[in-house]
Symmetry: C2
Subunit: 320 residues, 2 copies
């Protein structure tokens, strides 16, 4: 999950300096600083590239804007004509600053701290491209996919290629592993989940490993419930991220013996702090400590989160 953000005063300073959010993502010096901030402050075991999943549509010719305090905005793709306006391939020259950020971060990180790159999964990215932003259940993309499955498949295929080559460059630039975030996987029925999430993500990983043998990949299919089982059966991830709603007992019994898990503290209990936070941390440690696991939040950290709560959580996890 994103580690840097508005809950850190050092982030807010740089964010102000950069002005636009996307400008920050595309400024290697500033993005590298921001990526390193949480590791410097908290001594995390891994750094997470500071960027956004929507840089891929941006580099496919669908410009993205982030208005202050609002979500991302794109010119919605309504039909095949909208699809036809996209570039045939992702323009890596637009993404070069991100590869340079990775270079810089890697050079500054202690050897024992891993650097994680990432991209959005094709379904999630497509759902923003079609809606022109986030919606409560990504209905525009679901309607598009029902109404014109072939056109939608074209978009997904383009995103599979774009995402794979984007991840390959991230790995070549120095990322130790990459994550694939499928934030909106949970709004789909089972067959659509298989077709638009599971299969395309598996294809990305095959492509990435074709170029970078043994590449390490973490998947994050948010909110998919029972379909987690399908995901870990069919997508060859090295670890799977669990959102905060996944029952740790279920994940331990059904998932963790197949593949290491990552997660899954409720970001809201981190914000709330107190005894509830301690209890929630303990639950996760108890459930997952017998097998390989990465302690993490079950979604992005919230801007109002007090730093003292992050410290409380870390002390609990580290037993210090």
């Amino acid at each position: 999950m994103r580690q840097a953000g508005r809950y850190l005063p050092e982030y807010r300073m740089i964010r102000e300096k950069a002005g636009d959010f996307l400008k920050l993502c595309f400024s290697p010096e500033l993005a590298a600083q921001v990526t390193l901030q949480p590791v410097r402050r908290f001594g995390f075991d891994a750094a997470i590239l500071f960027s956004d999943i929507l840089v891929v549509p941006h580099a496919l010719g669908q410009p993205v804007q982030f208005a202050l305090g609002e979500g991302p905005q794109l010119d919605a793709i309504a039909d095949r004509r909208g699809l036809a306006r996209l570039k045939a391939e992702v323009d890596h020259s637009m993404l070069t600053p991100i590869y340079e950020t990775i270079n810089r971060v890697k050079a500054d990180l202690p050897r024992e701290v891993a650097l994680l790159g990432f991209c959005g999964a094709p379904w999630t990215v497509a759902s923003y491209m079609i809606a022109g932003g986030g919606t409560s259940e990504q209905e525009p993309a679901r309607r598009f996919a029902y109404g014109d499955p072939d056109g939608f498949a074209e978009l997904i295929d383009k995103l599979v290629d774009a995402s794979a080559s984007y991840l390959v460059r991230q790995l070549q630039a120095g990322a130790d592993a990459v994550q694939i975030f499928d934030t909106w996987a949970g709004v789909l029925p089972a067959d659509e989940f298989q077709r638009w999430c599971v299969d395309p993500t598996a294809r990305i990983i095959a492509k990435v490993r074709g170029h970078v043998p043994g590449a390490k990949v973490i998947g994050f299919p948010r909110g998919v419930g029972t379909a987690l089982l399908r995901y870990v059966e069919d997508v060859p991830v090295d670890a799977v991220g669990l959102d905060w709603t996944v029952d740790p007992a279920f994940a331990r019994d059904q998932i963790q013996w197949r593949v290491p898990v990552q997660g899954n503290l409720d970001p809201l209990v981190l914000l709330a702090g107190g005894a509830a936070l301690d209890r929630a941390v303990d639950n996760i440690l108890e459930a997952f400590s017998e097998r390989p696991f990465i302690f993490n939040l079950g979604h992005g950290i919230l801007p109002q989160t007090p730093i003292a709560h992050v410290e409380q959580m870390l002390a609990r996890v580290r037993g210090t």
Copy 2:
């Protein structure tokens, strides 16, 4: 799921006549007409009371408003002082028009058509009461529950009592079965789901059956994923509603042998129609036809749904 609504021209006519949405819910003659409309047009096997889950907070002294084209609005409950302003018990005199609607509908329905009443589950209703409306992940209520679990438990307890007595009166007025909708159950971690959804819903059912022995209850914990297993183990429902994201194969293998299932067509595929709709209907029929099951949508019907698509779905289900 709600059957009547804006997709029906006969509904829109009455809606216009009634003016305010809540007024419509509280006008027995109009609400009864609206309840009967889908049964008359489509010959459904059951009628669903036309009402809203937020009549319960309304009758607890927290007025609800529905502005045209927007979601419900309540004065948000921020803290214990807000809780203290609620009535000690639900005011049934405010709900009398609903019991009268049930009376009227029951008198007009053919004997072989069942009438279903309903209420919202305490967690879902509480989440609106605390947020003052719907939010994307009901964060205000989750924060309230983490920060003041005892205060939150008080609210849940009050809603357990109110919902139970509300359902008892619905059954006494002529409802053949009742549904408990937990629309927002899916945003909670496992322990919170157990405490705020599973246990209170089980308590409601025990109370209802204390007054109406053998009362039939259908539960609908939306979006809870793997926690469906906990729900059907711990909540003594006679059937469980499945939202459209539940994998039919999973539900058949893990749920349906314990308890009949209801669902779970994606409302968006009904809106989309065509071959995708036929395929989706077939999937559900194939998965569930071996054991008791109620064909239904996996959530409420969307206002833009073409009536011809409802007819297409029905012909497919009925094999006509």
